[in-house]
């Protein structure tokens, strides 16, 4: 437990000191949100309607962009080998690394979401809905992505392949995330139904993905 806490602190420190940490992900998030109205046109009614979807896609892409560093830097400097040989089970190590990664990259996105939602003309209820859905949904993206990151860790051109492997599996989280966010601003579905399914997706991926990612690291590392 102590070792895992130390690992968590190490991951956060590394993320903050090297490469700007979560700030870069948030900047990328902002750029994606800025680009969307250019492509769609500055019609505020339309933006308000598809705003939750834009925020979710932007969050998905910026999560994906940060994920290739999840195991790669440890693989490059050899600390991944040490983690694999340690007494602490690799599954727990992966879990902690993912949690730290989410705290470093996913959490800033969630905190920035209300602000960017304002730019997409979302009103109060929709703003809280999309923020809440991102808060419980982004862990699922990180954990599913960890499987892809572990599979491609030793490859030279892993980034694009990881996106191809991971994106199909994020479809359920995207569906229920966007429907929860849309339900918050009115609609036929009550907010809680898709929201609870989204929570379930996050919890299930948190429980299962570390095993798949650890198996991938052991076989490929």
């Amino acid at each position: 437990m102590k070792a895992l806490a130390a690992l968590f602190a190490r991951e956060l420190r590394l993320a903050n000191r090297a490469g700007g940490g979560g700030a870069m992900g948030v900047v990328f998030f902002l750029i994606l949100v800025t680009i969307a109205p250019f492509a769609i046109g500055p019609d505020l009614n339309l933006l308000a309607r598809i705003g939750p979807a834009i925020l979710w896609i932007a969050a998905l892409l910026s999560t994906l962009l940060g994920l290739d560093r999840l195991f790669l830097s440890d693989h490059e400097d050899g600390s991944l080998d040490l983690l694999e040989m340690a007494d602490t089970p690799l599954e727990a190590v992966v879990l902690v690394k993912c949690l730290a990664h989410w705290a470093g990259t996913g959490l800033p996105l969630v905190l920035a979401a209300p602000l960017f939602g304002l730019m997409l003309a979302l009103d109060g209820d929709a703003l809280w809905g999309v923020t809440a859905s991102l808060a419980v949904g982004t862990p699922a993206l990180t954990f599913i992505g960890a499987i892809g990151a572990a599979l491609t860790v030793s490859l030279r051109r892993g980034g694009l392949l990881m996106a191809i492997l991971v994106l199909p599996f994020t479809v359920p989280a995207l569906i229920f995330g966007v429907s929860a966010a849309s339900a918050a601003s009115g609609g036929t579905v009550p907010f809680l139904t898709p929201f609870l399914i989204l929570c379930a997706l996050s919890l299930a991926s948190m429980a299962l993905a570390p095993f798949a990612a650890a198996a991938a690291l052991r076989s490929g590392g």
Binding site: I147, L151, S154, I164, F169, A212
Partner: protein, 252 residues
Amino acid sequence: MLKYANPTFFLRLVAAVLPWLWAATILTLGVGLYMTFLTAPADYQQGETVRIMYIHVPAAWLSMFIYMVMTLSALGTLVWRHPLADASQQAAAPLGAGFTFICLVTGSLWGKPMWGTWWVWDARLTSVLVLFLIYLGLIALWNTIEEPLMAARASAILTLVGVVNIPIIKFSVDWWNTLHQPASVLRMGGPALHPSMLWPLLVMALGASLLFVCLHLMGVRNEILRRRLRRLSYLAAEAADHVLEPQTEAGA
């Protein structure tokens, strides 16, 4: 069982069985196509377009069946580390992608006259599209990792992760309100299809499955031979290295 899994024995078995399997495939598909185009009646509502079903439904069944074959092979790779399981996984992925593609294209061609649209984002169509993307991802993973053993284990893990999609495809028409019709052959209370349409469909499904078995066996055989060739070229390179060494020393 282990005896049949020996690659050399497997190659002999394939050489003996394959001509017969091909003959059965051609015969079944020939009969199936004859029934499809000549004996099966046109639908009173859909007209001649109903004949698309005899291609579409077997391809859809196979797209899922092949994924289950890959899942079993993936277990073989991860649990028993068996080279035949690796080769079976690798050979099945492009075939699965092919049948899924056929299923999507014929479905689209059938959807245009029946639903008035090439594509709708309903649960069945979307989940099959995701299956197609997973197949493509697996093929990309195979192509990217050069070392065959590592590639086999990596794609085995991804295959096992992707198996969650199969029940979603199967039950998508029951769980959600879809434009795609619910199951009409394998269902409680017997098939909802008239025998004059059910029989051609079953014959075509058998023919398509036989075609998959033939192509799969050939793919596995090619993969075994490819690995042997790889090993031999390594040995040859090593031998050449030994020959060269004394000469360079003498030259110096």
